[in-house]
């Protein structure tokens, strides 16, 4: 996989957008402006970014409860996203979905998902549609380590494999399902070994290495486009925050977070930029400032967007039926 410097800069920009979007979400949650559950992606930015950079607009992704990063990387609009987190009418879902349910069909984003493992089976449906129509699109299915014990992982990978569907399964192994560490939820270390259960290629990579993710996913995407079927890619990574905002992370051993923070994917790319004269520190700083502005914009957009009308609750259950309200 050759990456041009322009592509690299784009990817870096994406990582910044994710990091800063998440920090803002973190703050606004703490301020009580965002209701519900918020699962932040900070620390894992290289996974979504490297993977989605290997995709076209007409490719699909399925995402998870920890979906902001995937959605931004696949081209999701920051304003609509932030407005959705705030539960506003201009949000992606008109305030009906919230953080866990952002989708953008036009960009092939088949939705974040509140059900662990749900994406696996939706992704095979997407792969089936692609294969059926004989286009060369692909679907990337993102999921966490703990979701690989869910029923859907097994069914989805088996079907994708036996039907040779153009699906790339990208596991973000951050070592935990909420409080349960990987070694307590499964007896394996590298999740990619599970690929052999479906006779599909499996590979484990450093999920904090943007280049590695991009290369591995890029190759899998090529195979998929050529009709050679699915691949399982495990990206070892780490989430810096608690499982959701508010989680006190009592289950983490001392020093673990700190060790992983040293592997922060963002400075690694910055270092590469400077060492290889792709960007100067000044340019980097400027880009950071630009992204800060985007986030500020998104924030403003969210704050200024009106709350959804109550009657809107009755719409969108069906395409053709508006439900009855009640007298209050």
């Amino acid at each position: 996989m050759k990456i041009t410097n322009e592509q690299l800069k784009d990817m870096y920009l994406t990582m910044l957008k994710i990091r800063k979007f998440e920090k803002n979400a973190m703050d606004k949650f703490a301020e009580g402006k965002i209701p519900g559950f918020v699962h932040l992606y900070i620390g894992e930015e290289a996974c979504a970014t490297g993977a989605c950079a290997a995709l076209r607009v007409d490719d699909y992704i399925t995402s998870t409860h920890r979906g902001h990063g995937h959605i931004i990387a696949k081209g999701g609009d920051l304003n609509y996203m932030m407005a959705e987190l705030f539960g506003k009418s201009d949000g992606y879902c008109k305030g009906k979905g919230g953080s866990m349910h952002i989708a953008d069909a036009d960009k092939g984003i088949l939705g974040a998902n509140g059900i662990v493992g749900a994406g696996h089976n939706i992704a095979i449906g997407s792969g089936l549609a692609i294969k059926y129509r004989k286009t060369d699109q692909v679907c990337v299915c993102f999921f966490g380590d703990a979701s690989t014990n869910q029923s859907t992982f097994h069914e989805g990978l088996n079907l994708a494999s036996v039907w040779k569907l153009p699906v790339v399964f990208v596991c973000e192994n951050n070592g935990y399902g909420i409080s349960v560490s990987q070694k307590r939820h499964q007896a394996i270390t590298d999740i990619s070994v599970r690929a052999s259960a479906y006779n599909m290629p499996g590979i484990t990579i450093d999920g904090n290495d943007l280049f590695a993710v991009h290369e591995a996913v890029g190759e899998a995407v090529e195979r998929a486009r050529k009709g050679q079927g699915p691949t399982l890619i495990e990206c070892k990574t780490y989430r810096w925050r608690g499982h959701f905002e508010g989680d006190m992370t009592v289950y983490r051993p001392d020093g673990e977070l700190e060790a992983w923070m040293k592997k922060d994917p963002i400075p690694r790319v910055e270092k590469y930029f400077i060492e290889n004269n792709v960007m100067t520190q000044d340019e980097i700083n400027k880009l950071n400032a630009e992204v800060d502005k985007m986030i500020e914009e998104a924030n403003k957009f969210a704050v200024n967007s009106p709350a959804p009308s109550l009657e809107s609750a009755l719409e969108d259950v069906y395409s053709d039926i508006v439900e009855e309200g009640r007298v209050r």
């Binding site: 009906k96 349910h101 939706i122 059926y132 069914e155 719409e315 259950v317 069906y318 395409s319």
Partner: protein, 325 residues
């Protein structure tokens, strides 16, 4: 008039839509060369080939999930579960994904998928292969639920369901598959969801039902006629959307209601209909609302026990008569 089996009605609707619309495909366990466990898709694999009539592994979650995902990406899948009892295995995909996606996404996705689920008892298949579970799915906002009783309706409702932009649970009764009924060939066309059918006109009592129990209700109505009771039999056809107007009219006319379904009575969808009538048309009623259903037990294996558990025409007759004592 031409006769057609219920299974044929379903099969011909699938065939017609697949001929017309290349985005329609069928998948499920053994639906291909085997023709489906009940033979419903016999011949379709031969006509449309592997791509459009697909045998799946035994993974109900993946079957329903593949329907959701492929519908979200523009196909019009028809997925078959071999028995409705296996809905329990693909329940998340139906309830938390299919039903809620449009709403969660703010209306920005269409999910034109049909899930076909053979239901009901009567074949000695015991507790895990004989359930009627329509109450579960009618309780889920975002799903439409259809339950035809005859070939003409099966054909027309399935035609409509396939084109519907929302997930439709299409309930089929396995005892009806081989039931031949009259079919008006000029009327072999889509039937809108949410329109009930008066299976028999009457003035003294409304028997509101659907599926196999329509026939039991008609049998009961005949027996009742001999005793001077004129029963109207309403075949709902579509459980959601439900034809409230037809119900209101019938109740307004007869002032007496008996609701019938094969579900075990506790928690049956007929309870919801009864509750609606008791809430909205209470003053039209001049007698208790009777309900006939299966006993509140799993379906037993032995033939006698099974038919004791499931409701029949005689039960309906007795229920009606109790309103005239």
């Amino acid at each position: 008039m031409k006769k057609m089996t219920y299974a044929e009605g379903i099969r011909e609707a699938m065939r017609k839509k697949m001929q017309e619309d290349p985005s329609v495909l069928l998948f499920g366990e053994d639906v291909g060369k085997f023709g489906g466990c009940f033979g419903v898709s016999a011949g379709l694999w031969e006509e449309f080939g592997d791509d459009r009539v697909r045998d799946t592994p035994i993974s109900e979650g993946a079957i329903v999930g593949a329907a959701v995902g492929s519908a979200a990406c523009g196909l019009k899948p028809i997925a078959e579960l071999m028995f409705v009892d296996f809905l329990t295995v693909g329940m998340d995909q139906l309830v938390n994904q299919a039903a809620k996606m449009r709403y969660m996404f703010g209306g920005k996705i269409n999910l034109p998928m049909v899930l076909r689920v053979p239901s009901g008892g009567g074949v000695g298949a015991a507790a895990q292969h004989s359930q009627s579970l329509e109450a579960w799915v009618t309780h889920v906002p975002g799903l439409k639920v259809v339950y035809p009783s005859n070939a003409q309706d099966a054909y027309g409702l399935l035609m409509t369901a396939i084109d519907d932009q929302n997930p439709v649970v299409f309930v089929e009764n396995k005892m009806l598959y081989s039931a031949k009924t009259d079919v008006d060939e000029n009327e072999l066309k889509p039937i809108p969801l949410g329109k009930a059918r008066i299976a028999k006109d009457g003035t003294d009592v409304s028997i509101i039902t659907y599926g196999r129990q329509v026939f039991d209700a008609l049998t009961a109505a005949e027996a009742l006629a001999k005793e001077g009771i004129s029963a109207e039999v309403l075949d709902l056809r579509s459980l959601y959307p439900i034809d409230k107007e037809a119900i209101a009219q019938s109740v307004g006319k007869t002032h007496k209601v008996v609701l019938v379904s094969e579900e075990c009575k506790r928690g049956a969808y007929t309870g919801d209909i009864a509750a609606q009538i008791a809430e909205e048309y209470f003053y039209d009623l001049d007698a208790p609302i009777k309900r006939v259903g299966a006993l509140n037990t799993p379906v037993a294996f032995a033939t006698d026990l099974e038919s004791y558990i499931l409701p029949n025409a005689r039960d309906i007759e007795l229920a009606v008569k109790s309103l005239f004592d």
